[in-house]
């Protein structure tokens, strides 16, 4: 009884979930909601929306790698599958395929196809682990790239599809900077909290336990492979939704979108941000998008990949946990520094 009384309700004015949220979370939420008010439409669309949607795709990798211990290179491929489905089943301006389904069928269907493909990739990949899984998913991603580049009947080969537009809802064209930013924000926030929730669910906990000790979980009667494949399915839902946003953002999709360079970009984003917490991919995406847009002004467009590669190398070499790890080390160093100074004062005084 005392335990309950010790924490009396603070009154109905502030809902419980809001009171529990970390101040930093609230600040970030307010900032993200108000961001378009002081950002130009370039910053809203090219930086804000782009970072949010790339972060969403990288979030699916973070979920697999961070909670499942499975590093998949095929997340952009899954996103690309959704993007291609949107172009193929919906409408596009390339004159190939474009079955013209309404968007409210095309979009969920595309995401579902992507998730099923992700589960299939998972079914193949979970037969192995560690570097083997990296190699297999990389091989799948590369094979998909070469396949769509060669296939002209369905995927329109090298040219891909252009003129893929999001719908107009209630008179609002979704690709305008402001609506598109909020759409990306809503999707990103939804999946961010969904991943946080899933990580604490029974499934999430058993997935993490499988990551730590698959043999013990198997002995306890858990179906290890099924858990991993289901994780791939969920990650496919996230990556697929990100892929729909990606194809709307670019207005087109081509083999270049799902090229190995792009596949590696997603990994760079997730690793640079940090794969321990769901916020990591979004941090990485913001940095990546900023560098991608402004490194050109600083060093010219030519050697952009060298900068990206060196940044990536520096992060991998010096902070294996990415920006998140850097931040945590900084915090830990501060704490020990202050406690040391307190101890020091106590010693001399």
């Amino acid at each position: 009884m005392t335990a309950i009384d010790a924490n009396p309700p603070r009154g109905q004015a502030v809902p419980d979930w809001l009171g529990q949220a970390h101040p930093a979370t609230l600040l970030t939420a307010v900032f993200l909601l108000l961001y378009p008010a002081f950002a130009s439409s370039f910053f809203t669309f090219q930086i804000g929306a782009n970072a949010l949607l790339m972060g969403t795709i990288a979030l699916s990798l973070m979920m697999l790698a961070g909670y499942g211990g499975m590093v998949s290179f095929a997340q952009l491929t899954v996103a690309g599958i959704a993007g291609y489905c949107v172009a193929i089943f919906g409408t596009n301006g390339s004159g190939v395929m474009g079955l013209g389904w309404p968007w409210w069928i095309t979009v969920p269907f595309s995401i579902l196809v992507a998730a099923v493909c992700s589960a299939l990739i998972g079914a193949l990949a979970v037969r192995t682990a560690g570097i083997y899984m990296i190699m297999i998913t990389l091989a799948i991603a590369t094979a998909f790239f070469y396949f769509v580049r060669q296939n002209y009947e369905i995927f329109n080969g090298f040219n891909g599809f252009h003129g893929v537009a999001p719908p107009t809802l209630f008179g609002i064209y979704l690709r305008d900077p402001l609506p598109f930013y909020y759409l990306c924000l809503a999707v990103a926030a939804f999946f961010y909290f969904a991943v946080l929730y899933a990580a604490r669910s029974t499934f999430g906990l058993s997935l993490q336990a499988i990551r730590d000790n698959p043999r013990r979980m198997q002995a306890l009667g858990f179906h290890v492979a099924a858990h991993r494949i289901f994780a791939f399915f969920l990650a496919g839902l996230i990556a697929g939704t990100g892929g729909v946003l990606l194809v709307w953002f670019n207005g087109q999709i081509s083999p270049g979108t799902v090229s190995v360079a792009g596949v590696v970009d997603v990994l760079v984003i997730a690793v640079v941000g940090g794969m321990r917490k769901p916020i990591g991919p979004f941090l990485g995406a913001v940095l990546f998008v900023l560098v991608k847009n402004f490194a050109i002004d600083l060093i010219g467009a030519d050697r952009f990949n060298t900068i990206i590669g060196l940044t990536f190398l520096a992060v991998v070499l010096f902070s294996p946990d990415g920006l998140l790890g850097l931040w945590e080390r900084f915090k830990a160093a501060n704490v020990t520094a202050s406690s040391r100074s307190i101890l020091g004062r106590g010693g001399t005084g």
């Binding site: 590093v71 193949l124 037969r127 192995t128 560690g130 570097i131 083997y132 990296i134 190699m135 297999i136 990389l138 091989a139 799948i140 590369t142 094979a143 070469y146 396949f147 060669q150 296939n151 002209y152 009947e153 190995v260 590696v264 990994l267 690793v271 030519d302 050697r303 952009f304 990949n305 060298t306 990206i308 590669g309 060196l310 990536f312 190398l313 991998v316 070499l317 294996p320």
Partner: protein, 332 residues
């Protein structure tokens, strides 16, 4: 004979293959799958491409077999060796010098990577993978800066250039003359180089003292170290050989096909798939995998061009479904 049924099936398949290659095709078969000339050329292309893939993948699998390092910059080493060889050939006009330069510079780059990177993160697979990806991104961009985005081709020495007439009959003319199939000599040279290197690697691993150490290192690194062998030197040598093979393949392959940005990824994929199919760390596996993938790619390209990549992929899926460790791989 342990499996009489399977043996019979294999013998029948081999006989069918031999008949397809050596016999003059009847008209109904030509109607069914096209001219014999195309078929035989496709098979030869597949086998010679397999030779090239083996050169690249054997280095990849050697490094993996001993050190458990997945070197995702292996394709970059291929391209780097090719470009350096190209520059050497442009400067000296000597193709053999180009081959040597490709091997040596890639070997040096590999040894440098082993000393500077891999030695610092032994046993940390994921970080090694990530670092090699970073290296390959930077390397691809720097090579683009140094050699530009053009497609280059080596000029092959005159001795190796031209076509040879193979002893294979493609068809019989109405006057009774037999038409023989011609095939580029250089591609056969590639195959011969691959065979020589394959045999050389096998001898090195199985018949020499250093090969004994390498094999011991695969099984128990700590024990090998305890017997007084300097494991670091062994690792650096193996890495140099593996990387050098990729560089050599860059020149040899660049002469048969071409050298251009993006080839690094193509050959990385080829080595990945070959090694996944054949089994990691096995030279024999690399040979079998290379043969399967090379043939599948060329047959696919000739008969169903759109789905060529898919065939490669299907082979990978089937092998993984039956044997997750690859055809010649040992169960983990």
């Amino acid at each position: 004979m342990k499996h009489p049924v399977w043996t019979a099936v294999w013998i029948a398949l081999a006989a069918l293959a031999a008949w397809l290659v050596f016999a003059v095709w009847p008209d109904w078969l030509v109607d069914l799958i096209g001219a014999k000339r195309i078929f035989v050329t496709t098979i030869l292309n597949g086998i010679t491409l397999a030779g090239l893939y083996f050169l690249v993948a054997s280095g990849f699998t050697l490094v993996f077999g001993l050190m458990r390092n997945v070197n995702l910059a292996h394709g970059s080493l291929y391209l780097f060796g090719g470009y350096v060889g190209l520059s050497v050939q442009m400067a000296t006009g000597n193709w053999l010098l180009a081959v040597a330069a490709g091997f040596l510079t890639a070997a040096a780059a590999g040894a440098l990577m082993q000393v500077l990177v891999f030695r610092r993160m032994e046993g940390d697979d994921l970080r090694q993978t990530l670092v090699t990806i970073g290296i390959s991104i930077v390397a691809a961009d720097l090579m683009l800066a140094a050699w530009g985005g053009n497609t280059y081709q080596f000029s092959i020495p005159a001795v190796l250039d031209g076509a040879v007439t193979t002893p294979l009959v493609s068809s019989v003319r109405s006057n009774g003359d037999e038409v023989m199939i011609k095939y580029p000599l250089y591609r056969l040279v590639v195959l011969a180089v691959a065979l020589a290197i394959g045999v050389g690697l096998w001898l090195l691993l199985n018949k020499t003292r250093i090969g004994m150490m390498i094999r011991a290192g695969v099984d128990d690194r700590a024990m090998l170290s305890a017997t007084g062998v300097n494991v670091h030197v062994i690792f650096a040598i193996v890495f140099a050989i593996g990387a050098g093979l990729a560089g050599l393949a860059g020149v040899v392959g660049g002469s048969a096909l071409s050298i251009a940005p993006g080839e690094d990824i193509r050959y990385l994929l080829a080595s990945l798939v070959v090694v996944i199919v054949g089994g990691m760390g096995s030279i024999t596996g690399a040979a079998i995998g290379a043969l399967l993938i090379g043939l599948a790619e060329q047959i696919g390209l000739a008969y169903f061009p759109t789905y060529a990549v898919v065939i490669t992929f299907v082979i990978m899926v089937v092998v993984l479904a039956v044997r997750p460790q690859g055809i010649m791989g040992r169960a983990a």
